[in-house]
Symmetry: C2
Subunit: 346 residues, 2 copies
């Protein structure tokens, strides 16, 4: 089959991989329909994080082609959403709802596991990993939104839940990438009354507003902190979401969070120092991390299918497998918020 | 009046201070009955943190001697508990329950404010700071327990609440000082089924068991981590409480916490590095800090008065104002868990 292959920093190309087959009775083989590129993929794309040479991509939706003998609840032809982590569903961490810590789990496009940016994927623990989408004849817009449930929409939701966003809250999101924008959407969905988006990019500001941002702060660093404090009467926000993963974004999030609140952080950390004095002397907590997407998908999928949310709007660049390199380039150069790769049909 | 005075590291002596008087209509003057020494006092006692020369001590109970014209709900003769922070009760942070962040507040025994280790204290914002104790004729045992509500018992409670201890949980407490022991008590009170205390000191182990610890781990560092993981089937604890404030204790707490749990930290931080990778890749949160004692006192006081908890057992050394230097020495040399200073009578 054809699949995107990582050959090293800034070197991604379409290549050939063996056709996936059932290897364990808990496997399924899924034919990929839509995939996308994650902001976290840019870390290795830019050479800032290690990544094995080989298949890539951990966000995809597709159609079940074959299931192993132990897989219940899924049949050939089902449209499915794959959370970016596969998990056995039975270990202590899975049972507690923390699938990313599954003792037997892993992520797609890593350590030789098929990536989502290819024609097909062998999915381990298919029954406890994949989520079947009910109904048929979904619009392309719906499919694009379902694709984001694979990671980014769930990660934004995780930022908001981790920060304990409550109805009526005034909140702020640090980061205007796809995750930050998804966190804006999630916070508004959870009932935040005032959602402050930190963004200086006009297109992203517009998307933030479409997702429910009520205020946009274009400043950065200390000026952004001053502006958010001014907007909140000097108090700080009820919930801050950190959706970048750098030292500055974490510092900003802690500086704008009010005493007693929680910073919900989902950015992959690079050079992050947690300001422990803000934690202890202002009682500002820190929660978040790798989102348990499998746990969130059913709830968010219902909202997507009923038209209550359209997280797929973050996908503002589109290509096919032949164009996979351009999908990365567009995001690397910040021409795109998030790149869609159209691979198959439902 | 006579009061303990800080003259520099390892130099604490009884001295003279002006008799406190009402300076603002929101003040009260309280005659001190019992005071004690906080583990956090040892940081400046040992020269490891700065502290102004002058009055010291932030934990005390006493009897109201005089109230300003704006103070309602308190009258001369009332027995009162002073939380270690005074707060105006009206600012945004106070209204949200985070009195330690009060914009007009402060702590006793700092910046010229009378310390609790003296014969009397001018208490700012008396109405919203002090808590009157109902009833009369309380036993000395009860008074000692009420004294601990001034800080240490509330701080232990804050560690447990911050770590989100739930009924039936398996939890662990890092630190066997007075705060750690109070956290053991708090976790057991909140319904934790299994409470693992990390302690190698036989007397403190015994007190931990008296407070509800079901398991004692005498190992430290990596060996302690291995032992706790062994006790929890490799999963880690449902809630970890960090009650020391050093780099090693924070590292240990994060290492024994299960994915998705929260480290409740209340130790004053000295050289603490938060392991951000554990936060993000294992979804282990961090909450805690300076306890909002004023908020917790009413609930804990009811339990003390009804004999359901006896946090005063942490006070295992006793002296009077003349002996105040020995109160610090006993804790500095770890001969005492916590030192009581008997100053007046009810």
């Amino acid at each position: 089959m054809r699949a995107a292959i990582y050959h090293g920093p800034h070197a991604i190309a379409l290549g050939e991989r063996p056709d996936p087959t059932i290897q364990l009775p808990t496997d399924a083989v899924v034919r990929v329909v839509l995939a996308c590129v994650c902001g976290s993929d840019l870390w290795y794309y830019r050479g800032e994080s290690p990544h094995e040479l080989g298949p890539i991509g951990h966000e995809f939706i597709g159609v079940v082609e074959e299931v192993g003998s132990d897989v219940r609840g899924l049949v050939r032809g089902d449209l499915v959403i794959a959370p970016f982590i596969f998990s056995d569903g039975t270990c202590a961490h899975c049972r507690a709802g923390w699938m990313p810590s599954c003792v037997a789990g892993g992520s797609f496009g890593n350590h030789g596991v098929d990536g989502g940016q290819g024609e097909a994927v062998r999915v381990p623990f298919a029954e406890t990993t994949l989520v079947a989408v009910p109904g048929s004849g979904h619009s392309d817009e719906t499919l694009r939104s379902l694709l984001t449930l694979s990671d980014v929409a769930c990660t934004g939701h995780h930022a908001a839940l981790s920060a304990n966003v409550q109805p009526g809250n005034t909140v702020a999101v640090v980061g205007d990438g796809a995750v930050g924008l998804s966190a804006v959407l999630a916070a508004a969905r959870l009932g935040a009354e005032r959602v402050i988006a930190l963004s200086r990019n006009p297109a992203r500001q517009a998307l933030a507003r479409a997702f429910g941002a009520t205020d946009v702060v274009p400043e950065r660093g200390e000026e952004a902190v001053a502006r958010v404090l001014e907007l909140t009467g000097g108090v700080g926000v009820d919930a801050a979401m950190e959706c970048v993963g750098t030292g500055q974004s974490m510092t900003t999030a802690f500086a704008i969070a009010r005493p007693g609140s929680i910073v919900g952080a989902v950015g992959a950390p690079h050079g992050v120092h947690v300001p422990i004095e803000r934690v202890i002397f202002s009682n500002i907590g820190l929660r978040g991390g790798v989102a348990p997407a499998r746990r969130y998908i059913p709830e968010l999928m219902a909202d997507v299918l009923e038209g209550r949310m359209n997280p797929g709007l973050v996908l503002d660049f589109e290509t096919d497998l032949e164009g996979v390199a351009s999908a990365y380039e567009a995001m690397d150069q910040r021409r795109a918020v998030k790149s869609l790769i159209r691979i198959g049909t439902v």
